[in-house]
Symmetry: C2
Subunit: 235 residues, 2 copies
């Protein structure tokens, strides 16, 4: 009988934010599959797992390059699927770890769908999202009562941003560092300037929290930077 694939969300950074289930699956699985952007790079997801689970088993490193080249990406996915299938076919369970939650902008979903279509048993283990951890960190609610929430993964390329900023009560902009200089002007114009907070690398040692968007726009912030805009006020 083939093994089972688990897509395990490990949360945004703090190892204590793994769920009890994630910990159990990672401890019991025969192999842990770790996504990396390059063979010589550290895996952020692995460092989180190591903070919560003692790993004595074999780790499969899967390379997903930071690229917009679809051919290259497809090749890396196909390669990852093959490596995982080999373990599953030998009856071993594989836990694929992803930052945050596997259903929120993760590379895992493609592998899940492909292997599910091929008849393998696959299960998603949810994780703490970066936006929930960020909101918790700064003590801001993402939604109260009838308030709507918009989540935009890439403000830089969002054609609908103007409409979203106008019509939603709360807006989460993920991976926002590149867009800050542009966003600064839009937010000032819309009077949302003082209703935003920026959280970079939430839960890591080099975490940054910034209520001053002007200052944030001038800083060199990580790729893992989130902005929360709350029309009711962030304080």
């Amino acid at each position: 009988m083939p093994g089972k694939l688990y897509g395990v969300g490990v949360g945004p950074g703090d190892p204590e934010l793994l769920t009890i289930k994630a910990k159990r699956i990672l401890e019991r699985a025969d192999f842990i599959a770790i996504p990396k952007t390059a063979a010589d790079k550290e895996s952020t997801a692995l460092s989180i797992v190591e903070g919560a689970v003692e790993i004595s088993k074999e780790v499969i490193e899967l390379i997903f390059p930071m690229s917009f080249d679809e051919k290259l990406l497809e090749e890396s996915w196909r390669n990852a699927v093959l490596q995982i299938k080999e373990k599953l076919d030998s009856g071993k369970d594989v836990a694929f770890v992803t930052l945050g939650d596997p259903t929120i902008y993760s590379t895992y979903i493609y592998i899940h769908k492909t292997l599910l279509d091929e008849g393998y048993e696959c299960e998603i283990v949810p994780g703490i999202t970066s936006f929930c951890a960020s909101a918790a960190r700064v003590g801001v609610s993402l939604g109260e009562n009838k308030e709507t929430i918009a989540i935009v993964p890439s403000a830089y390329e969002c054609e609908n941003l103007d409409n979203i900023l106008d019509s939603f009560d709360n807006i989460v902009l993920m991976k926002v560092s590149r867009s800050l200089p542009k966003l600064k002007d839009i937010l000032k114009q819309k009077g949302l300037w003082e209703k935003a907070v920026i959280i970079s690398k939430c839960g890591f040692e080099d975490e940054v929290i910034e209520f001053d968007i002007e200052k944030a726009a001038e800083s060199k912030l990580s790729y893992f930077t989130t902005m929360i805009i709350k029309k009711g006020g962030i304080k």
Copy 2:
């Protein structure tokens, strides 16, 4: 020195979806505060906690009636704040448990803000949201690549729903059971009929998953029912 208040998200139902941190805080806190809708009702949050943590300490029951009467609600909040303050003032730590995540439509936020303003130390411990657990359960991603996500807590009363359904890639409608007969027609009209899935009481014994919205609209579903609409297709 006064004690510390923790707002602890316990996830949507499965006790294994508590985080390691939530478990630690609940085990160490001197008091666990539990929201209930009425004195004689079971607390859903408490039943989740009891599945993961051995509770030998005193539980403070806080009544938040299901009501739209603002005076009544304010009174229940004030009362909850007083009960918690009494424990904090005696140097005891209190863990207030909330379903899902404390920053996503929880009653905890009001208490957090009030006690923070009064100078008490308060911390939010994030939890697994019902929509992430639901998406994981049915193997659907809430967002891929540049896709936007809208979260609407109460479709019945959302004036902007038409615009949201038109302009977002993925839409989460929470507490949707009341709105189903009305939504059915809107979704049919917009061609979103077969791009939606309904998950009711995710992780509980009486969980319902329904890909047929017509059938779902005819069923008597719980208050804890979520619809995920994914324009890229749910399968």
